[in-house]
Symmetry: C3
Subunit: 490 residues, 3 copies
């Protein structure tokens, strides 16, 4: 509460609050606003509340480096002295944008992409480009196993007189399910003339749109959607730092980071007291600006101590502080070297980071890199906890990962028995009830239990997809197998 | 934050904030408060914080029409110049209230009903009266199929030496389950004398009470409970507009509007930034008062643009902006013409809006009305999005509805096979495991997947009751059927 | 909003806000801070924001009794005039702390325990010591049935060529599952030398640490962790009073108090309007400080009316206002006389508060005590509701408890049939699928339905673990039994 009370007191006493003033706007963007403020008042108001409306690149360059939300060391002269308005973003690199169109004398892109944002945020764009998030589309569609999982999870049905007959997930359903978080491929499929209040405008027709998936492939060929976490048109860092943003995709039952966080002491504190935090400060000072972490605190923000010294550097590769991949496919393993995980092949030739019996593939980080990342994360913890507390916690996590992975390997043994006894057909690994149970074991229950251990959520590692479910699911697999033994059985 | 900071600064500098002052109170209500302020301090404090305590009808009538939270064009002279206090509501229309009682010289009703609220809010009461919500009780109890579902879902057990024997849901359990949201029938069953601090008061004995279900049938014969969304005794519009209100009933697993919203970009923004919104402004100006919608924004509030022009009118028929009924019974269909859906009969004579193979009944809105409503909702979207974005989104929704409905029809084919093979008994459609799976397909998984498509929640259309569950459930139905084939089987 | 607006206005106008000033700090704690402020800036900032940093025991003793957050009538002279700093807590009773160590001339304990907090909070410590929470560890480990449930719920697997072989939950997994909420046994297992920036410190090595379970057994032999609800190092009463704190353990699927509350009118109001409440006021005045209750309001806080008279006294025995134990084991029963429930034996000799057919054990509170507690809770309700409303509500709850318990007894009849027909082996009551369904009936579905009735959550008593699940689960148990009848079968 302190800081905001002080801010209000200053305001009430008439002190200047410079950051609230709008920055000068380019004539081009003035033209945009002259129509769009009336047409889309919410969109424009959102932008007017943004930092983009109140800061010019020149102003940003005048700030101390640690206080910048901007990583360019220079920007083109024509953009330097005006606010980051409509035209400054939608008018960039139009020759590379297949989604551009002519609009009252301007060339405008529909979709602003990471390569456009790169103009002012090159380091963020570069870090992101190497991350698993940036490859989230190809990591599904170019991995034959995951592509099969996507098509199977969203299977439709043709209705015939004999009964429903399964068909692979339609492109529509794929885009509405897995690819709604992973991202679609946005392509220009034609042109379309629209009439608005007597006027006609020709605009590109886009497929895979709307979509804000984090790995979206854009009409300029770039990968990603900064708006997945920095939603338009305020692009507010306070939103990106709050757990509700991550919670859109990192959710029960497959990756319940949000639910696990909410159940943890950290989540409790931030939900109980977060209204008094300064969610916009850059750098983000531990203890002064916040007192319990959100997702961004541990995973990507630049944090400083009371003397203004960095505790950890900012990163937009969200796996950069992680050493072990809890989201096992099917079991846990060191994080991959490259975000393009579809290029991995395990020792059995499958496009997976581990074999089905748990041996790691080539292309994963080595022990030294694991140790380095673990040390980075421990440094974050040690801002508030003793190092010993943090070390014990991560040592507990090691044990959980090993024990939970055995519950996955046990399920894999069981599904293999089903395949061997011809009780299930491995032609598609994901479509029969016993296979669905196997997938549930690693994709839901094991993933949840490990995440809950990593973030100290008591119930998610117990009853809710936790050990209770790991055991229940396996017992039911075994009961079904026992009832269908080839020799004898019921 | 802007507006609230300005408000605080004004306050700190001594500017008058007239709306905070209490309005003059009638002598009758003064009498009520003289005892009840001591007896129920929380109730009275809640009312003192309400607009009802701070505004007289005369003051309300003096406001510009768009700013009124009040739709009467006149009110009885005796109520005009005093705050809306205890007696002003609990003393209305006592001759029509079977729940009235004599209380220290006053005639008082226990339950204030929509027909009482109608005194000052006639348009709201009228719109509500035509809605599905107002008929929520009869739509269950007068529909033989849904009545059977209610009695089956809450079945109890008599314990006999041979084992437990099912009995239909008791009236108590019915009121605690389906009718807790739909509403109970509140009836006066007698009189009762209570002693309080040496004094005795005779009060009506009520059955079905307490209940705040939205379609409650009240002792004056009226239908509905305004307090379902405007909880006593502050009746705060800020509460009604927040998603937590809708979330009390529109919940996982049957109608997870709240969970879907929370998972969407809209929910993320409102949960991250909503503390800076003005949740009480009337009219509600897009961009100034809020920057991301809550349920009320899209479904019922009066919205204005920056010039104060209405974008959409207020409605208290919460289906009035909806063209397709996602909550399929069992598949989706045009919204009904009347809120009294229990009067519908499909082509097979069942009390359903569609046949089990998906043909719509009479009594649903036509294509022109569907188009009109779709245009209204698109206008809401277009306050912040391009029309093309909104149109693409609703076109995607059309495809999802068609594809998901096929997954329901597939489950219907399977349950029919169970009935035909006498593996299940259609005398009760809802009580055997294969039937429960069939209900889950339309009531839970299909409903969720369609809602998640309508509001862009990525995971609810994938794993959480989404396509994953639609497929898993159907595969398990099919496995069970395959193991119980009349000829052969396991 | 009122009170906080007033507070801000006062602040802005320069009025003194004494409570914001830090209190004098002891020289010992100054020494601690001289290093630790740099090492753990978040921890120290959290403490600086605490009441402990701003109040001395002498100041607390100077407050009117009802306003104290402190129940000692005196404190040792050496602690009286300084803030409650690092050394004041970590330097207490070191001779009784096996976790003490020498640290730059001071003797320091790692774990601050309830018996340390007792120095200033003796009544709270005493009330807590008698509660079920304080015995949460022994109530599992010393109860052979629950100990078996713990070991079974977290069973691991040894992998053999023939398939996975179950092993009881490891001590690690036990501490990560049930005991993560119930609490671990924290023991000193040795000493360890750590190096930090060239310096070496010898510290105790602890097992079962970190853990914040509410019944933790500490290295000084005391039971409990005040930090389970008053998290370090702000120990903020505003956090303890918010539902997010309770929600860490009182969660779906076993004790979904949080989810049920969120779905209730109370939860809706507090989530919609709670930002305007005063979550720190002591005493907590109904109507002025809050307008809808959180968990703490009904279950433990000292509440006063507008005249400052207590409505209910504070208690740190969180069952002290409860008459019936909804969390049936397996069916509901009067609350136990002692928090040490592992000492109970039912008429069949089992360590349960009831027999499997529902007869209560010795050691439960009698009808008079039940009536007294019910009256206490009714008094809380009656602050805002009519007594009749509250009485009707609790009468409804009685009926729900009776009806739901029959659904548990029905499941018990069915699992007994499985045992009798040798379809399952009662040597372990909790490990086979039919047994897991039986446990789900009482531990998840019945518990949820009753909690949802107690707090008026409409959907949790219907579809989400409610009556729907009670019936579905029982129907599936019966279908499985029917398919495995000893004579005949499918």
């Amino acid at each position: 509460m302190h800081r905001s009370i002080v801010a209000l007191a200053l305001l009430a006493s008439g002190a200047p609050v410079a950051a609230q003033e709008p920055a000068p706007l380019s004539g081009d963007s003035e033209v945009c606003l002259s129509c769009h403020e009336g047409i889309q008042p919410g969109l424009v108001a959102d932008w007017r509340a943004s930092r983009h409306a109140r800061v010019t690149p020149a102003m940003a360059l005048g700030r101390p480096v640690l206080e910048r939300r901007f990583s360019a060391t220079d920007v083109p002269a024509e953009n330097r002295e005006s606010a980051v308005g409509c035209y400054e973003c939608h008018g960039l690199r139009t020759d590379q944008h297949r989604d551009h169109f002519e609009h009252y004398g301007y060339t405008i892109n529909v979709v602003v992409s990471p390569d456009d944002c790169r103009t002012c945020h090159p380091i963020e764009a570069e870090q992101f480009a190497g991350s698993k998030k940036a490859h989230a589309v190809d990591n599904l569609r170019l991995n034959p196993l995951f592509d099969s999982l996507v098509r199977t999870a969203g299977r439709g049905r043709e209705l015939t007189p004999e009964g429903p007959s399964p068909v692979p997930a339609s492109p529509h359903t794929q885009s509405q399910t897995c690819y709604s978080c992973h991202g679609t491929v946005v392509e220009v499929t034609g042109r379309r003339t629209i009439e608005r209040e007597g006027d006609t405008v020709e605009v590109p027709e886009l497929s895979g749109w709307p979509n804000m998936g984090v790995g979206r492939i854009n009409p300029d060929g770039s990968r990603g959607a900064c708006t997945a976490c920095h939603p338009r048109h305020s692009f507010d860092i306070a939103v990106a730092r709050q757990p509700h943003t991550c919670s859109q995709c990192h959710l029960e039952p497959d990756v319940p980071a949000w639910e696990v966080y909410r159940e943890s002491k950290h989540g409790n504190l931030a939900l109980s007291s977060g209204a008094s935090y300064d969610w916009t400060a850059v750098p983000w000072q531990v203890g002064r600006d916040f007192r319990a972490p959100s997702c961004a605190t541990c995973h990507n923000a630049l944090l400083t101590d009371a003397d203004g010294r960095p505790i950890v550097e900012r990163t937009h590769d969200f796996g950069a502080r992680l050493w072990v991949r809890l989201f096992g496919l099917p079991t846990s393993h060191p994080q991959p070297l490259s975000g393009a995980t579809h290029t991995l092949r395990n020792a059995d030739g499958q496009p997976l980071p581990v074999t089905l019996d748990g041996r790691g593939a080539e292309g994963l980080i080595d022990a030294a890199e694991q140790a380095r990342r673990r040390e980075t994360m421990t440094r974050v913890c040690a801002s508030c906890h003793s190092r010993r507390w943090a070390e014990n916690h991560f040592s507990d996590l090691d044990t959980t990962v090993a024990e939970v992975d055995r519950m996955v390997l046990a399920a894999t043994q069981r599904v293999r028995q089903a395949w061997e006894r011809r009780l299930a057909d491995p032609a598609n690994l994901f479509d029969e009830p016993i296979e669905i149970r196997w997938v549930s074991q690693w994709l839901f229950h094991a993933s949840t239990t490990k995440l809950a251990a990593a973030m100290m959520a008591p119930d998610y590692r117990t009853f809710k997809h936790g050990w209770w479910e790991l055991n229940r699911n396996l017992a039911e697999m075994e009961q079904w197998l026992a009832g269908h033994a080839p020799a004898g059985g019921e």
